[in-house]
Amino acid sequence: MNITKNDLKKINDFVWEIPKSFRADMRAPARIFATEKLLEEIFRDRSMEQLVNVATLPGIQKHALVMPDAHEGYGFPIGGVAAMDLDEGVISPGGIGYDINCGVRLLRSPVKWFEVEDKLEELATEIYHAVPSGLGRGGRLVFDKNKFDLMLGGGAGYLVEEGFGKENDVLHLEAQGNLSQADPSLVSNEAKRRGKDQLGTLGSGNHFLEVQRVDEIFEETAAKAFGLFKDQLVILIHTGSRGLGHQIATDYIRLMMSAMPKYGIVLPDRELACAPFRSPEGQKYFAAMCAGANFAWANRQTITHWIRESWRKVLGDLSGELEIVYDVAHNIAKIERYKIDGKEKELCVHRKGATRAFGAGNSELPDDYKGVGQPVLIPGSMGTASYVLVGTNESAGLSFSTSCHGAGRRMSRHGAKKIWRGSDLKKQLEAQGIIVRAGSMSGLAEEAPLAYKDVEEVVGAVHGAGLAKKVARLKPLAVIKG
């Protein structure tokens, strides 16, 4: 059944609803956070149908949700959010994605960008060489079997123990960079072999590093708490759990497909494969997924360490230290508490291409952010603007404390490559004064800014809906890709 705009009920300028009556197998209504303009774009692919499919999952609470940067995925749409009852509900690897804990980390420097302008080319080159893509040669850091398992169990904190960071680094990471429910013994040998030499590697696709400048501050109090000021030089890291996470997802989707008949679960798309959260399959996947998430935090910690080394090498001690603003996961399931029908309960919140956005006062936030809320990091498409937002308390009721995760694609990679050549794109970016260091020109073409939705419109919708509020806009100085 095709969904059209006529099937939607307008809740307000930023929220639309597909009623539960739309399809007989829906267990909850579905809500879309978008402006009218973004809604048109979302209708261009199969995101809506995929969102309706999510609403059929057992144990889903309140609404199946999708963020304004929604686009077609497989199983869940990208930008999809679903919170499940722990006793009655399921956990679905497809609701987290293959790149477990793909996420973003922002580093801040104490300098204004123009104070080090003459060193930017050298800095970009240095970082490009320090952080391998991992598509060919392996990473620079390989742990033995014992240490690898300790890392899967300990996340970013284990890397700090190994000398890859400062003790207080973990305070400014989602979940402090470690999900304690992780069980490395539930991660297959194949997954471990795929991830063996991938710590500290960037990967391909939409993953990138950017040296950026703070272009505009919208909210002074939050900016000050996050240590951000106008013209400041900052560095954004966007990568995930690499082959290890991909293999965990592959292994467990397969396991769940074979387990579903046992639990009497029938689904409209195999990629939604799931198992009851409390079942052995559900618990094993959750523990393995947590280990995958820890690998991703360890990966971003390793990359942070090498970027700090590059920074010191190029700029010496005079330009100070790089500190972590925050680190957020885009693809993850977390156990969080929300009010359902007036009663607070624990839920398994799936976020696939969506960012947690806790408001002020949340007990997980570090002391210096408690008064303002959680930093929400939104990478724009390559070469355009990125945003720092701050979570609101309102979002708990609206979206299980969730915001968007990026600009969201609107054109296929294949389509983008047909229109743009990587080398032309490089010239265009350079004409705007942006330094480009990229291993693959076709990879660059796939990420052409026009292949994405307008990040301003997406962030505007999130701000307007009250999911998170704008704090700062960041503009690129250098783009570094695998």
Binding site: Y74, D99, Q247, E271
Partner: protein
């Protein structure tokens, strides 16, 4: 349709291909070639280089799952060994569920070449939209979406 047995289709975020073959084995081979083409465009040209072979065994609930699980297994081997596998010889290929396990299964020797770097880092082979079926001309075909 071209004679290479697969073509690249559109997908917003990921990569979708269509593969076909006169027999199920041929469909599986062509799907494998499609995946190899995405990983390394010139892999097939370099066939003269020393080949690497691996044995894979896969059991699944039905023919569609068998194809996706087969490609997933090849991808795992490909990523671990940095080899692009572009051919397969099937030693066993049962397309009716076995009496004891109720599953379909295959055993194959896959062939490939070592690469320094992949063009495209395929994260996973998904079940999304995959459905092995015969078209009116009797040709087996399916779409396959790769997460990249």
């Amino acid at each position: 349709m071209t004679d290479q047995g697969f073509e690249i289709l559109e997908h917003t975020a990921d990569l979708r291909i269509k593969a076909w073959g006169k027999t199920k084995e041929e469909l599986f081979k062509n799907a494998l070639r499609g995946m190899a083409y995405v990983q390394k465009e010139e892999a097939r040209i370099k066939k003269q280089e020393s080949r690497i072979t691996k044995k894979v065994q896969v059991k699944s609930t039905d023919m569609t799952a068998l194809l996706i699980d087969f490609l997933s297994e090849v991808l795992t081997q490909s990523q671990i060994n940095r080899v692009v596998f572009f051919d397969a010889n099937f030693k066993a290929f049962s397309d009716t569920p076995s009496a004891d396990s109720g599953q379909v299964e295959l055993e194959a020797e896959i062939e490939g070449i070592k690469v320094d770097e992949f063009d495209e880092d395929i994260k996973a082979v998904t079940y999304h939209e995959a459905e092995v079926k015969q078209n009116p001309e009797g040709v087996y075909e399916t779409k396959i979406v790769f997460d990249i």
